[in-house]
Amino acid sequence: MTLARATSVILAKELRTEFRSRQLLGTTAVFVLIVIVLFSFTFNPTSTESRRFGPGLLWLAFLFAGSLMLQSSFLREQTNDTLAALRLAPIDPFSIIAGKMAANFLFLLLVEVILLPVFAVLYNVAILPVLPQLLLVLVMGTIGLAATGTVFSAVAAQARLRELLLPLLLLPVLAPVLIASTEATIGVLQDPSELSLVWLTFLACFDLIFLTAAWMVGEYLLEE
């Protein structure tokens, strides 16, 4: 089976699992909502300042959500020992990682797209006129988040205190994504809107570097 085919099978399996149990997406969305509400206490959210601070808070909320949500990516396999079965399949081991990565990317993006209008309303930010640019930034940032997050989820699943460990590993590595996505979002939301090519290129580099790294180390992660 080719890598692409195997990856899409794993992706389909992940999506099916999630849409049958529907635990992850709802919980994560509520979590992000809570964070957004709690952040509103740190400054006056309806002021013009929110254009300056809002994007940072939003991305921070996404990063926290990612570091909690991605836990289950490999943990779910451990409880029923299904990872062993996946490993036995005659497919490239990287396709397991890639399939999970793609699924996590879609889950995170979905949560972000659901929460974006809520954020816009609560923080008085106009997003409709700049929606395509905003989505582009979301996609670019989320690829980096899903790529590193999925690999670290496999790492943390093999350790003790894994719930605490994943954010510990993930958040410092994602600091560049936080900075770049936040700055790009600020640029898009400011008046006049401006899509920063520097930060988009930076995000593309981050995504490319860590996707390649994941591809190179991926097979080692699934060893028994």
């Binding site: 790492v155 350790a159 930076f202």
Partner: protein, 237 residues
């Protein structure tokens, strides 16, 4: 069943006496150079002298983290435990050096800038780098089985090392858009200052090599003890 007595692999001394003597000589010379020989800086005064060790520690810390990357890649390729030992040894030494950087920085900053800390590009990225490798060390404490630990920490070590340039670029671009305190005066550097800085770097490199070798040896002995313990547990069962 006759238990076979396993002959221990001979552990040669981790460091030769001359290399330790050389390290102490370099340290003494560097201290003399930094504290006495180098001229006192005009505007910052005596506190500027801490800079020699501050900068030298940062450079040696970077090299240690590069060794972590190298050791992690080599471990994944060869699966020889020695590369894992090298990685953990260098990571600890690198974190120690960056701790020195993060402590000496504020000592210098308080009298010169008037504040202990500022979120300037260089400070922020050094801090983040330190946090990255502290996470690496925390990860190591949380995985019990040696081979598993070596494997996952090699993966994380590679990711953390790849992140270093990204951290630097992102924070640099981020901070240069914001007001920042002026570092340095751009004035002409006394030649002696440059030499002392190089000497200090040589000294910290010497400390780095000696510490990494000691720590490497400790890790090797530890894994040997673990292996023996497993063996005795198996034979008494």
């Amino acid at each position: 069943m006759a238990t076979q007595v396993q002959t221990l692999p001979t552990t040669r001394p981790a460091i030769s006496v001359p290399s330790v003597l050389l390290m102490f000589f370099l340290l003494a010379a560097a201290s003399y150079g930094a504290l006495i020989w180098a001229p006192t800086e005009n505007t910052m005064g005596i506190v500027q002298r801490i800079f020699y060790f501050h900068v030298a520690s940062a450079w040696s810390g970077f090299i240690s983290f590069f060794i972590v990357f190298f050791g992690s890649v080599a471990y994944l390729r060869t699966r020889a435990p020695k590369w894992d030992w090298l990685s953990v040894a260098s990571a600890e030494v690198g974190v120690a050096f960056f701790t020195v950087v993060l402590v000496t920085g504020p000592i210098w900053a308080k009298p010169v800038w008037g504040i202990w800390w500022t979120w300037d590009a260089r400070l922020t990225s050094s801090f983040l780098l330190w946090v990255l490798f502290v996470s690496y060390l925390v990860l190591r404490t949380l995985v019990e089985e040696p081979e598993r630990r070596a494997l996952v920490s090699a993966v994380f070590g590679i990711f953390a090392a790849l992140d270093i340039p990204l951290v630097y670029f992102s924070i640099w671009w981020f901070r240069t858009q914001h007001p920042q305190p002026v570092i340095g005066d751009g004035g002409k550097l006394d030649a002696r200052m440059g030499w002392v800085l190089l000497l200090c770097w040589a000294a910290t490199l010497g400390v780095m090599v000696v510490l990494i070798r000691l720590r490497y040896r400790l890790e090797a002995l530890r894994s040997e003890v673990d292996a023996l313990r497993m063996e005795s547990a198996r034979s008494t069962r």
